[in-house]
């Protein structure tokens, strides 16, 4: 079995006082060993919540409503806290967006790394330090012996993210979830960190789930990808085919909105409207108020994810399933302004 991660029909809800909101709706995907997958979408699409639910760390009032998560053949939902703690860090780790915040400001890098190792085994301090130095070398931190005694504020942003990666690597995990790991860094550092992640994943056969909104990064790093919109996967497949020949109108919009695809001088493209907040997700296809192709059936029926003919990818759109008659395509498009929204509910 070279299956690493299997997520089936995952639904995550947030229980509010009046209603419960569905942040992740019936999401399924799977990852093979040492495979790299991208999860893209706008802010609030449910990407991060999906990532957090994999390690069972959704903050309250969120909870996993239904679905199953298998990691290396082991069922993750329903594990005890102690078993889950063992999985976290040991087998699955996560890297965050802002390396300024994820390191403890008052502890040296060495202390933080040794702490992590000690929490997952009974390594002696000297052995743990040796491992830490080894990992720092792997992420190309110069003179790691000296660096071990320094505090986070003595490092630059890019170096801190390397250290965060080194901490994630300490226990040789099988899967790394990277939640927008380069958003807080400038572009050159971004490329370096991404290269580093690719090298590390290849050399130690690690799987990578890359959560981002940067299609450029996804196309460089990942082999397959899924596009999320309002809590659902609207398109998924091999990265190359999804980006080069997007099937879902939303993905098409995203690809079109990449600045490089527009001739200099022309205004940048943007998908009209805003993503709906979780409190008022439109009926039918949740993308229909912003879709240029929307027809009548889109307002009433929710499209399922089906494979696209002649492509390896899957998409959830009535045009692909053929439910939307050709004569009806675009009949509803932009007839009405999308409702103004009361503000973002989730970051």
């Amino acid at each position: 079995m070279d299956r690493l991660l299997d997520v089936k029909n995952l639904t995550v809800k947030f229980a509010l006082r009046r209603a419960s909101l569905t942040a992740v709706n019936n999401v399924s995907f799977s990852l093979k060993k040492s495979e790299r997958m991208g999860l893209v979408g706008e802010s609030g699409a449910g990407k991060s919540v999906t990532g957090f639910s994999l390690i069972n760390l959704i903050s309250k009032p969120g909870y996993i409503d239904s679905g199953s998560i298998f990691f290396e053949g082991r069922k993750l939902i329903g594990l005890s806290d102690e078993e889950m703690r063992h999985i976290r860090g040991n087998h699955i780790t996560m890297i965050f967006q802002d390396p300024m915040m994820t390191l403890n400001p008052v502890l040296t890098i060495g202390t933080q790394m040794v702490e992590t190792l000690k929490a997952h085994g009974n390594d002696s301090t000297s052995k743990a330090e040796a491992t830490a130095i080894d990992k720092l070398r792997q992420v190309q931190i110069p003179s790691p012996e000296k660096r071990l005694k320094q505090y986070p504020h003595e490092f630059s942003g890019g170096m801190r993210q390397r250290i965060v990666i080194a901490i994630a690597l300490l226990t040789d995990p099988a899967l790394i979830i990277a939640d927008e790991p380069t958003t807080a860094l400038d572009v050159t550092i971004q490329a370096e960190i991404m290269d580093l992640l690719i090298t590390l994943c290849d050399s130690s056969r690690m799987g990578l789930l890359l959560i981002t909104h940067d299609l450029g990064v996804v196309s460089e790093v990942t082999e397959k990808m899924a596009v999320m919109y309002a809590g659902k996967i609207v398109e998924s497949g091999p990265t190359r085919s999804v980006i080069n020949q997007p099937s879902h109108p939303y993905t098409r919009g995203l690809v079109k909105a990449i600045p490089g695809n527009i001739p200099p001088g022309d205004p940048l493209y943007q998908i009209p409207g805003m993503m709906p907040t979780l409190t008022d997700i439109p009926a039918g296809c949740s993308f229909h108020p912003r879709c240029a192709y929307a027809g009548k059936v889109c307002t009433t029926e929710t499209p399922e994810l089906i494979s696209v003919t002649n492509k390896q990818s899957e998409a959830a759109c009535h045009m692909i399933s053929g439910r939307l008659p050709e004569s009806d395509i675009g009949s509803l498009a932009l007839h009405r302004e999308p409702k103004p929204h009361s503000g973002e509910l989730m970051a």
Partner: protein, 303 residues
């Protein structure tokens, strides 16, 4: 290690603040004199064989009728004032530090757990703290002191007065620490490094003590100085009303109390000198604490 300390910004800003250096020096002298009392003091006020009642109420050296053996005069029992004060200061400082250590231990543990766990548990612990705060220190102390004296008698009370006062003052004031620590923990636990620590699978006790606690120590350090001064004052006040240290093992407070009875007979020095010593001790601790608070407050650096 020493070089690193001498190079640090802490030392740099300390050495450039005359008030801090001055109060630190005075405090150091008082501590050394107090804890080195058996060596430093010219007489041993606990040794009854060296005390002569004929020497009682001798005035300090610059007044007429003084005795060269007793620089600051003697008290009503003929004990050398200077020696008694040094020994008394030792008792006062000991109780102050001990009580604060107990307060900190209780308060930090409770505040940390309450802040981190949250929910009903937190509400319960913090209400206990509120209840504790609504009793005045003196009321608790009077109650327990009286209870102890009634239960075990005066003889045993004299032997156990120091630990008893430490426990009473320690228990009366722990909510100060609990509240301070809880407030900082509430701020810290939302930060990403805590989440990161949970993601790499650290157990929650380790997260609390090793990750969060070091980040909350700044305010703890600052209130500690204030609390030491407060504890010494509480002890003095309790001794003054007769519920603290017994006269046979006097603290600064009980010396003031004893001397108070003789003020109107003209022996002003018995109460004045311990009073001055107490004021200097408290003042230097507070000034040092003020400097520490300013130093640890990053908002004061800019602008």
């Amino acid at each position: 290690m020493l070089k690193k300390f001498l190079d640090s910004f802490f030392f740099y800003s300390f050495i450039r603040d005359p008030v801090a250096v001055g109060s630190f020096l005075i405090l150091a002298i008082l501590f050394i004199a107090g804890f080195g009392a058996p060596v430093v003091a010219p007489h041993n006020p606990y040794d009854t064989t060296t005390i002569d009642i004929m020497d009682s109420e001798l005035p300090p050296f610059w007044t007429s009728g003084s005795d060269d053996r007793f620089i600051l005069g003697t008290d009503s029992q003929g004990r050398d004032m200077l020696s008694t004060m040094l020994y008394g200061m030792r008792v006062s400082i000991l109780i102050g530090l001990g009580a604060v250590a107990l307060q900190a231990l209780l308060g930090i543990t409770i505040g940390l757990i309450a802040g981190y766990k949250g929910g009903r548990f937190e509400a319960f612990l913090m209400r206990i703290a509120d209840v504790q705060l609504s009793f005045s220190t003196y009321m608790v102390a009077i109650f327990f002191g009286a209870l102890f004296q009634a239960a075990f008698g005066m003889g045993l009370y004299e032997d156990f007065a120091i630990p008893m006062l430490i426990i009473i003052i320690g228990f009366a004031e722990w909510p100060q620490y609990a509240r301070t620590v809880r407030a900082s923990v509430l701020g810290e636990k939302k930060k990403e490094y805590v989440e990161a620590a949970r993601i790499i699978g650290l157990p929650s006790t380790r997260i609390m003590w090793r990750q969060i606690l070091p980040n909350t120590l700044t305010p703890v350090l600052v209130i500690s100085t204030v609390q030491v001064a407060n504890a010494i004052m509480s002890e003095a006040a309790l001794s003054f009303i007769g519920l603290g240290m017994p006269v046979t093992r006097p603290s600064l407070g009980s010396l003031i109390k004893v001397g108070f009875d003789y003020i109107f007979s003209g022996s002003w020095w018995i109460t004045l000198f311990p009073g001055i010593a107490l004021v200097i001790l408290i003042l230097s601790i507070n000034l040092l604490g003020d400097w520490l608070r300013d130093f640890l407050n990053p908002k004061l650096y800019k602008g």
